[in-house]
């Protein structure tokens, strides 16, 4: 069986760089950006997507609904754009 893979999308227009997702991810998939987004905030960035186990903890705890985890299969079917 192929290893499940996930796509993590961060809506940089909504992310306020609170670091909750970075702190809660058990696999250290996420980090904080060292450059500000157009919003002025230093947002979260996906650094090690291949390590993601799809536990959804980051998505569930984002206070700004700015992060979404999709399983890759679903992503192919949907035509939704990130954010």
């Amino acid at each position: 069986m192929a290893k499940k893979s996930f796509d993590i999308q961060i809506n940089t227009a909504w992310c306020k760089g609170c670091e909750v997702c970075v702190a809660i991810c058990p696999k250290k998939v996420l980090e904080m950006s060292d450059k500000p987004a157009p919003s002025g905030y230093f947002t979260a960035v996906v650094k090690r997507q291949a390590d993601c186990i799809g536990c959804m903890e980051c998505e569930l705890h984002c206070p700004d609904l700015a992060i979404e985890v999709k399983s890759k299969k679903e992503e192919v079917k949907s035509d939704a754009k990130g954010g």
Binding site: K16, L60, H61, C62, P63, D64, L65, E68
Partner: protein
């Protein structure tokens, strides 16, 4: 944006007005997920709030009827709405200061009268929006703008208070323990009669930065610290969670 929750929100008003890492945003998500998991029709729901940071959770974010009322009074407006249109699912979501101090009488009497509504308290232990003053929910010893040496008084246990006033569904969760919290919110929303959920929702801006001994040095640490701050059989200073 989270695709499944899109239909319940007004995307054009995002990002939220909350400070980065405010627990209230996480509570907002928990409530939307509870509604989604129960497949409730948000058009048949009304969300009421009073004044304060937490009062911004439903309005303007939810694509539903919302009422941003006067300070402490959302339960009175909710009572009126329920009487006029009993078919509507009425949800009050507001802060601890709003619900338990300024509107404390409304809270206990709505519980006593068993008026069918769900009251969700976004409890951050302080008056956030007005400048970090001590609240009836501020723990003994905790620092606030008005108790710089530590709060000399006892705090309210809101679950005990509401239970004592007669509510038959009362629960306490935290924004760290999301799956549990969503479960409590779902039970409360389905409950016939008055239901109450006390939600521990950290405010780093006004509470956490003054109480780094318990909250750590950042908004994210205040949320992560909840992981070990709760218990079903609490010892000193721990928070009791569960259904009561």
């Amino acid at each position: 944006m989270i695709e499944t929750l899109k239909k319940y929100i007004r995307p054009d008003v995002f990002p939220t007005p909350f400070c980065p890492g405010c627990g209230h945003g996480i509570l907002m998500q928990a409530l939307l997920r509870a509604i989604d998991e129960l497949k409730l029709d948000i058009d048949k729901m009304v969300f009421l709030s009073g004044i304060g940071c937490a009062a911004w959770i439903p309005s303007p974010h939810f694509a539903a009827d919302t009422m941003h009322t006067t300070h402490g009074r959302p339960i009175t407006f909710a009572t009126g709405i329920k009487l006029v249109n009993p078919k509507l699912k009425v949800v009050v979501i507001s802060g601890d200061g709003d619900l338990s101090a300024i509107g404390g009488n409304h809270l206990i009497h709505a519980a006593r009268r068993n008026i069918e509504m769900t009251v969700i308290c976004a409890n951050n232990s302080i008056y956030g929006m007005t400048g970090g003053q001590v609240a009836p929910t501020t723990p003994t010893g905790a620092k606030s703008a008005t108790t710089p040496q530590g709060n000399p008084e006892r705090d309210f246990d809101l679950c005990k208070l509401v239970k004592g006033a007669g509510a038959d569904y009362v629960a306490r969760g935290t924004v760290y323990h999301m799956r549990e919290l969503i479960k409590y919110l779902k039970t409360a929303l389905q409950h016939k009669g008055f239901s109450f959920v006390d939600v521990i929702s950290p405010c780093y801006t006004q509470f956490g930065r003054r109480n780094q001994n318990t909250c750590g040095g950042s908004a994210s640490s205040a949320i992560m610290n909840l992981k070990t701050a709760v218990s079903k059989t609490p010892q000193d200073g721990e928070i009791l969670t569960g259904e009561f």
